[in-house]
Symmetry: none
Subunit: 359 residues, 2 copies
DNA sequence: TGGATAGCAT
DNA sequence: ATGCTATCCA
């Protein structure tokens, strides 16, 4: 039995309407359980993976007795969410034997009530465990800037090379008409992205903050990297340790696995994760949000712009985006918003070589 | 000889450009006479009928010596109206032997004058007499809300069931992806739609206010149901009597007539009518306009959303829309604006059964 | 932010 | 030919 209430439909609408999820996959399970509502979907070509988590604690009220996989058609869900106005109060309901999900949209003063039942389907979806990876480079900056760069460079070529070093992050693309690159310099001295809009840094749903080594890392706890939590100016050396899950090896949907059935690995539970980047409280709220770069090691990776463009559509959800990269490893593009987060993983383009080899 | 002058082209533009008229019919007669300019058109499938009346008295100047049917192609008229700016002064001219209609568009300060001649055609159009019907349910509410509901529900299914009872009005639709419903609650205590923007409650063009039983109901008088005029909270009982024409029987284009030639009934003249819903002066001007429900009897009817979507495109003409319904009778969707009104009639879907039987 | 249009898919 | 999606414009 699920009953979850959100004060505003805006986030849900943005999540499904604007966003790239439904461009990656048409059907997928919403996983409702005590921790909240999650979603995991890999695109057909197995190059990209998206993960969403809405935290139970961030709902206005939340009740879910047991694990409930709600198989939805994302197009249908999108259509129905379009029937909500941004400031409508949303209630999601599903009974245990649910073959449908009920969405209730109430105007703030309740003089308009929309009730929508969406048929659910059985989706045999493997749930990937995504270990919490330590990345060599973590860059947090304006999400609209990110969208802008992807858009700009997509005018030139189909892929973008992203290079990060101590100086900054460089996006570059080549094509018939020429080539271009955008360099974002590390906002030295300033702390990069302010905490604002990267909501409540930690709001442990049920685990306590230091219980992070759980063998079954089904906790998608928002508790980050305590050390870089505050005003500490980013450094490029290696003392920026994330709290690491016990599985340092790389994501399931890694390039090498392409072409085969995706690894079914239920062990890690929901396995959403959050590599929260540094956030400092200092200034530049408004326009300039700064560029925060945390670097273990320089990285250089190439990605499909088509996917990044899609990912960037999530920009309305958050003022900031965090790019997490290690060489030869899928990029993680993470947006955090008040009720949760959305993470996109994208295999680097070199991976295609492996994939072809594997075929 | 017709010469009619409007201070602003905006209404004309909205009437023909945004609106659904030209989606229902391609050619039709504009009927100019002393009462103003009218239009009546039935769509090809004879399911929907639209009626427009521009009151002579609401023009800045109006002169029309005799009945003049001006056969226009609505696409052409639309194209020409697009040549007017919203605040242009419009003058319509046609001579008695007119085979063309002249439209004059003058900028407010007269430093730009556009003159357009549109070829007219002979259209052998039967003019339907539409008796003033007493409806079991009359609902007045925000026209944009109406448009929104039609749009939302059309994502789900092809038809909408409209149910009205004392509590409110419910629109619901079923389809493959699920089903949905929107309930608007009667704005109890508040007066429903404020008078504002439901223009000049009565502006008797030439008849005097109490001469409403005119056998030829060509008067489209806005004088309503005096009793419910003000702060009086709506009641659901039957004292809400409309002023009734002498023909209580039902509209010509009733379901049973479908498939045959529409009844030609010139007796009632133009036969526009107005079942003006209650309007009170009290509050909530801005966002919430309230929902006024006047109910003789609960109704439940099903309509094609495709048509309602079209009708709803007239929302820019008025802040309010009025739905008039009786069971088994065509719905009347009425918009009133400063210069007149536009009425859409739509046969309920049950009619299709009759229609098929009639075939 | 919402509406309109044009292109693509069914 | 129609409906839907995606992009563009107001």
């Amino acid at each position: 039995m699920l009953e979850a209430r959100l004060a505003s439909a805006a986030v849900l609408k943005k999540l499904l309407d604007g966003t790239a999820i439904k461009e990656l996959v048409t059907d997928c399970n919403l996983e409702a359980n005590e921790e909240g509502i999650g979603l995991q979907a890999m695109d057909n070509s197995h190059v990209a993976l998206v993960t969403v988590q809405l935290e139970a604690g961030e709902f206005d009220s939340y009740r879910c007795d047991r694990n409930m996989p709600l198989g939805v058609n994302l197009g249908s869900l999108t259509k129905i969410l379009r029937c909500a106005k941004d400031n409508d109060v949303v209630t999601l309901k599903a009974s245990d034997d649910a073959d449908s999900l009920t969405l209730l949209f109430e105007s703030p003063n309740s003089d308009r009530v929309g009730e929508y039942d969406m048929k659910l389907m059985d989706i045999d979806q493997e749930h990937l465990g995504i270990p919490d990876t330590q990345y060599d480079a973590t860059i947090t900056f304006s999400s609209t800037e990110f969208a802008r760069i992807c858009r700009d460079l997509s005018a030139l070529g189909e892929s973008v090379k992203i290079e990060v070093d101590k100086q900054g992050i460089r996006f570059s693309s080549d094509g018939e008409i020429g080539n271009g690159s955008v360099l974002l310099k590390h906002s030295a001295g300033r702390g990069g992205a302010p905490a604002e809009n990267k909501p409540k840094v930690k709001k442990e749903t049920k685990r306590d903050p230091d219980d992070e080594d759980g063998s079954d890392a089904d906790e998608e706890d928002v508790k980050p990297d305590v050390d870089e939590d505050d005003v500490k100016p980013e450094v490029d050396e290696d003392e920026e340790e994330y709290e690491l899950q016990d599985e340092p090896e790389i994501v399931e949907d890694k390039p090498k696995k392409r072409g085969r059935a995706p690894a079914k690995k239920e062990t890690n539970g929901k396995a959403t994760k959050k590599v929260t980047a540094c956030k400092t409280k200092d200034g530049d709220e408004d326009g300039e949000v700064g560029v925060s770069i945390i670097l273990q090691q320089s990285v250089s990776l190439t990605f499909s712009l088509k996917y990044l463009l899609n990912f960037a559509k999530s920009a309305p959800l958050s003022k900031y985006v965090t790019l997490n990269m290690s060489n030869e490893v899928p990029l993680l593009v993470a947006f955090e918003f008040s009720q949760g987060h959305i993470n996109y993983y994208l295999a680097p383009k070199v991976s295609l070589a492996y994939a072809i080899r594997d075929l």
